[in-house]
Symmetry: none
Subunit: 198 residues, 4 copies
DNA sequence: CCGTAAACGAGACGGTACGTCCTGTCTTCTA
DNA sequence: TAGAAGACAGGACGTACCGTCTCGTTTACGG
């Protein structure tokens, strides 16, 4: 007769299974790319039943989102040094992760999944896109308030510019998403500041 | 006396079949979205053999690229009025087409296909992305030469900003890709011009 | 405490699916003949996935062999009454089954499949041909030993004669493969017996 | 107003095309067997249009029948030496041809085609099966009339025995269809003759 | 020597089926 | 209840041939 009412009845989920799935998924998308990434393949590689994956993630995309976030630092620690430096830090968190082709593949796949699944799109926005956009947006509006950027600036559009450049190059562009690339972005934004004028 | 040396041997491709495929594909992606878009489905809807599709397009993606371009005007005619107006025209060609959800879906699908097929990626760049980027790049560099934009400007990055904003919002964003949105983009770029300074 | 060590892992094959496939296959070959007999057609008619057929049978031919054997009595029970009667019984098992045009079609199809697939040929021999030939061969050699047939007889050749007559008429001949036909075969073999001589 | 009723208008059939088709078909069935024998394949190998094959033969089977008969000697020359020798000669014409695996394959294929095409079945009977059966039947009935075989004999059944043994071993049996095999057949038939009795 | 007409290589065409892969769900046994 | 295993209905893949068709070109004969 089971005692504890808190912990639900039955056998608890096995944490090793969780890890095995994430590891197998990461290895698979590293080795084969998104084209041959399937739940079936992950299960086989992880030595796990398909059901054990579906029990944890409602779709391929949800798994990929967790896979991208897995081990990713929180944003805040790097911040606090003001407009151009903090914006650079935000962008470099992404460029750094995406330098690893594995994570670049994951991020591309996440976008793919979002195109045909509205729930997935919401999830991607909430877990990956919005946190970074919000951070950047705040930095921009603060910079405007501080007179470091013109008061007429369309802050939302600047955020679109900055992240658009990153996403575009991830998905279709030729640019290597290096730290240097992030620096070029920020440099170009800085040209808008009154201080940059002759 | 041989007539046409040019005309290749064998029965020529049937233009009606070509049209039927494009029409069926467009209808299908309009009615069902990309998720249930299949070569099989297009063939059935067009009343055509699958082979007749594969004979013309090597992949689902290649078909989608042609589908997006089908009936799209050349860029040049709209140009010739100088930097901000021409840039706006270039962007509005896309925003206009993408206002139709059918073409928005096609364009999303094209990006999806490009993520798992390097040939497809090249095709998308060559047929859809690069022509517009080149047009915009030329406008930007001309504007710099004319002193309408600062000489220190990273033209390539401006192009990334401009198209990044469009692609990002197509794939993941909340912005409605209206003509007004294109205007906001151009307005923000104009803030860089020396003339806009106090 | 583990119960059954024997029961293999995973969901067991569904016996209803097995039956549905055999029934659909039989109906199909009855109604349409071998020409339009396809795995696809069987699956559709059985309301079953193609994979469920391939899981059980490696080829169309293997399915047909099982289909022919399905419900066919073992040979032995009918035997035990000595040379001419037992030989007749062996032959009549086949003529009886083949009186039903459905099973005649199946048997023809089985030969067809065997012509282009060595594995199939082995299967047909093992499951259909050899058991009957062995039974007949034993009866012949016993009859020789008992002096009912001449000691100089080439027993293997007699078996070839007897079954050759059946197979030939099934595949190419005009003879209706009735019980009477089997009787004619046995009668002709009996002419070899010393007892039949003047 | 066309004059000659005999020679029809238009370009006459090219005899080289005819030969090229037969040669390509023979080579194909020799090298690949019946499994991958297709009109498409023959056309490609012969360097000929598919239509040129369909113009001459109504089906794959009709082509195969001609292919088998191509270059085959008439039956008669070998005959005239009485019952056992002439029967042997008739059988050996077939065993000899069938020693070449190419022709064995053709003959098997011909039977295959006959199973799903009534016209083909008639053609095979008329052009390949019946002539030989008729020859044998005549020899048997003559032998009965001459007292070389018992008067009670079922001549048709003997023919079934003799050709059944050949066809069975061609299609399903282990016996190598050598001249020696034909001799064994005839030997066993001879056991029926009154002269063979003690 | 010219026009008609069939033959010819080539290859497109609507179809049908192939055997494989993957989806998301289910059913079994074992822990 | 979780978990490994694997069956299940379903859908699509890309390929191979079928037999028919439409091209441009070639080759004979009859006028």
């Amino acid at each position: 007769m089971p005692k504890k009412a808190a912990g639900r009845a039955g056998r608890p989920r096995d944490e090793n299974v969780h890890r095995a799935i994430l590891d197998a998924a990461r290895d698979l998308i590293r080795d084969e790319g998104y084209a041959s990434f399937s739940i079936e393949g992950v299960a086989a590689r992880a030595g796990v039943a398909k059901q054990s994956i579906y029990r944890r993630w409602s779709s391929k995309g949800a798994l990929l989102v967790d896979l991208y976030m897995d081990g990713l630092d929180r944003l805040e620690p790097a911040l606090g040094r003001g407009f151009p430096d903090d914006l650079l830090a935000v962008l470099q968190q992404t460029t750094k992760r995406v330098q690893d082709p594995t994570y670049a593949n994951i991020l591309k796949s996440v976008v793919v999944e979002a195109q045909s699944d509205p729930d997935m799109r919401k999830l991607v926005l909430k877990k990956i896109v919005e946190p970074r956009r919000e951070a950047a947006k705040t930095l921009i509006t603060n910079a405007i308030a501080a007179g470091e950027l013109p008061s007429t600036l369309d802050a939302e559009m600047i955020v679109d510019f900055v992240f658009g450049a990153v996403w575009f190059n991830l998905l279709l562009g030729d640019a290597n998403l290096t730290s240097q690339f992030a620096r070029r972005i920020v440099k170009t934004i800085e040209l808008l500041s009154p201080a940059s004028r002759p």
